[in-house]
Amino acid sequence: MPKDSGIGASPKRREDVRFLTGNGNYTDDINAHGQAYVHFLRSDLAHGKINGIDTAAAEAMPGVVRIFTAADFEAVGGVPCGWQITDRHGEVMQEPKHPILAEGKVRHVGEAIAAVVADSPEQARDAAEAIELDIEELPAVIDMKAAVADSSVKVHDDLTSNLCFDWGFVEENREAVEQAFQDAAHVTTLELINNRLIANPMEPRVAIGEYNRSSDDSTLYTTSQNPHVIRLLMGAFVLGIPEHKLRVVAPDVGGGFGTKIFHYAEEAFCTFAAKACNRAIKWTSSRSEAFMSDAHGRDHVSKIELALDADNNFTAVRTDTYANMGAYLSTFAPAVPTWLHGILMAGNYKTPLVYVNVKAVFTNTVPVDAYRGAGRPEATFQLERVVDKAARELGVDPIALRRQNFITEFPYATPVAVEYDTGDYNATMDKLEEIADLSGFATRRAASEAKGKIRGLGVNCYIEACGIAPSNLVGQLGARAGLYESATVRVNATGGLVVMTGSHSHGQGHETAFPQVIAEMIGIDESMIEIVHGDTAKVPMGMGTYGSRSLAVGGSAMVKATEKIIAKAKKIAAHLMEAADADIELKDGQFSVAGTDKSVAWGDVTLAAYVPHNYPLEDIEPGLEETAFYDPSNFTYPSGAYACEVEVDPDTGKVSIERFSAADDFGNIVNPMIVDGQVHGGIGQGIGQALLEGCVYDENGQLLSASFMDYAMPRADDLPFYAVDHSCQTPCTHNPLGVKGCGEAGAIGSPPAVVNAVVDALQSAGKNVTHIDMPLSPGRVWAAMNG
């Protein structure tokens, strides 16, 4: 019987009622008294030298409060990068200043040049149009390989080249890997592109800066996945405001998918300008603006090689990647193609030798940073595509080749510096074969053929490193922040709990799932627990939500804090029952003395904590509130196996997804309904990447896919129902809940399944097609078939 409460149950989400009735409180729903509005004048050139900005006419326009340019930010820092990479030559990455408003040059279409603050949004826009710009267009740096090969045109004139860093991992293995390739019985090589994507959460970004002249406090309301990180980055590195004078609030946030992790110039602008203008300043991004100012994702150009011995055992993997950084380094950009990518390159396989080279490149494009999966989809796509290609070249079953090379013993230390704690890759593959009904594929293929369609089957595995991340480890790897999480559990006198968590929920359902954990620990009703998040004034500290970390890291902090609460409550209960602390048991919200019928209720103990008339005041303080910080000792390693069946229309090249199945191992599961939903959404985005989505720049750096008219978002009729299963569970061994994280899996595991399926379809129709770059648009598939 499924449980109806606690861990493993699927209570309906408490968030839903407000969202379903129009009572959500998103940032754009907030209006400050007397607020002004900012409009950013953005560059329509990809690269240019700013010779002059004349704001005189604009300043005289109706409603204009003030116009800002780079000159107003001379005393202010640039937008910081949160990760520093040291490359294979021992050099630290080249790190250009990322100004709030363009300084000297514009470096991508959409870069803000000036900011107009006015009484209304339309007045601000009217005045922005009256600003006279004198910008000398420069050749745009767009193609990454060309940008590295020839630095005669540099994105940043003060850097030595367009190469940000040249990273090798594991550098010591470089020669051994080369030797393994020379000794290989078979080598499969694949060149591929991981297409540039735009995250496009449905809620565009919004920022509202407020300044209180009386207290000298600043407040920023923002659409963020991690308000404390924004407070730290913006306060310490940009504006010089100490944490106690700066409050950052991220209320209901309409999806993030990574692109709302980062600290953006618009946030700093609104906070700065609110003080400068002594007026609240609001910025609401239009979708068109979002396309050219939200950090993009992916954009890797890679070559991967797989070496096999005569028995088809993988002996080495080598990859070479050009990773686009865009024009500036966004918050976590350098970490994505390196540590979040390289450490996954062993995948599910016991390949003994791996070497990863990544060249990160500056181009005249929007900064690129983490998007759902962040580095791990890029690794998985390369590996699972090359394994599939190898199977076809060798004429062996792709599933059998994978199984033969699976890691089967845990813990397992990979050659890329991480130790997988648990997993059972054969179990998820077995489950996949069952739920995807792979044995019925031949019949379905015949049925498709009878309709004039070509059917293909693609299967792949994935592993990811989540629960980001051990602070001491990431510190060694270049992170400029810790990646722990905090929680404060406040028990009120009448027994209800308020949990202040540094994790942020923007669709993940924390307000529902987190109480399930605490309710189970104490044995009380979930309705007695309230989750508070997204406000630096309420939550002590938080590193936020990304990298599938909320439950694994934030949840663990919450468990630790609750354990402290229970330990103290037991002392109070022991006093009330005149028993020894060690004899107190807590079950179903009742404290009892082991071996007796004495008991006191949860509410009696919490009341005693705040009305301490009969209380061990000499031993413990009144009150019942505890804070815990949890820093994980390892990543978590969710894994799984995915299968996709496609039909290809041979006349048009159009691909339709006919079946999609996912068997995941997320360790223990708190709320299966929410986990299903996370996987569905990840698969939807993965299929989107594989078939539909592509961010395209022309050679002049103009963004061609600049709106939903040209950037194909997956729609309901592009996607099928998915078969998802997470009954294979090898619990994480190093966090208290045994959870691994589920937010990114779908987006990581699904693109190779789709491409493998299309290649299978085309080969089954006799086409000599070994790869097509994503998105597999009808035109591309048709061209591949007729190439």
Binding site: T652, L692, G694, L704, S705, D710, A712, P778, G779, A783
Partner: protein
């Protein structure tokens, strides 16, 4: 958007008068014009809404023709043009349901987007575009991308479609906008076959003469199987090369003929 004065006349005559003002522009359903204005790519001084004009809401079926008022929404055509099933079917796939509840046939034809559906229907049906001033044959009406025979201030009050013996429209959508990457409307009239292609050409909707000739000889999919349009005249962009669009014109034409027979 730039600001503008808004007028909502209740008759064609009042609308024509209002449109005489400098930089006045007619507003149909607004499903293209309003997004364009939001991008500040249009700046009318006065917007003259046609939606309150009762005489443009007509919908007449009879004598082998379907006459649709300029104000009639795509949703109403989809539901009501049963006498011309291919037209109803086309209307039911324009935009999305909310767009179909606002967008009008007059607005679509006046805008003449090179990827819109109605121009293909009008051209293949040898429709007559009825304005406040005159009647314009479809062959004379479409004059290239976003260009028509309409004079400034001229309003499409209705469109008269001759119902063909058989007809069919096949649309292959651009995956982002869901406009036609290529759309082909084939109509077999008593006096001959007309094939109109939208989405494909830089010149906007066009008639494919070679296909019409072949289909006049033999109205079958096989008759057009070996025909191809010249890729040089096609649109090439991130959603499809010129060659791909040219190929799709052939495929969609074949499919339209097959579906119509």
């Amino acid at each position: 958007m730039y600001n503008f004065d808004y007028e909502a006349p209740s008759s064609v005559a009042e609308a024509v008068a209002a449109l005489a003002a400098e930089d006045a522009q007619a507003l149909g359903g607004g499903q293209t014009l309003i997004p364009t204005m939001k991008q500040r790519l249009a700046m009318p001084s006065t917007l003259v809404s046609l939606s309150g004009i009762a005489e443009m809401k007509g919908f007449d079926v009879g004598n082998g023709a379907v006459t649709i008022g300029g104000n009639v929404t795509h949703a109403v055509v989809a539901a009501g043009a049963g006498a011309y099933p291919a037209l109803a079917e086309l209307a039911s796939h324009i935009g999305d349901p909310a767009v179909r509840n606002r967008g009008t046939i007059g607005g679509s034809l006046a805008n003449n987007d090179p990827s819109a559906d109605y121009p293909a229907a009008a051209l293949a049906s040898a429709a007559v575009i009825v304005t406040n001033a005159r009647e314009i044959a479809a062959d004379d009406y479409f004059q290239g991308m976003f260009t028509t025979a309409l004079e400034d201030g001229e309003i499409i009050t209705g469109v008269r479609f001759a119902v063909p013996e058989v007809a069919n429209y096949q649309k292959f959508v651009q995956p982002a906008s869901r406009f036609a990457l290529v759309g082909v409307f084939v109509a077999k009239h008593a006096d001959g076959v007309r094939v109109a292609v939208t989405g494909a050409s830089e010149e906007g909707v066009f008639r494919w003469a070679a296909a019409e000739a072949a289909l006049n000889d033999s109205f079958s999919a096989d008759a057009v199987a070996d025909l191809a349009v010249d890729p040089a005249n096609m649109i090439g962009d991130l959603h499809g090369t010129k060659a791909y669009r040219a190929h799709l014109v052939g495929v969609m034409t074949k499919r339209a003929v097959a579906a119509a027979t």
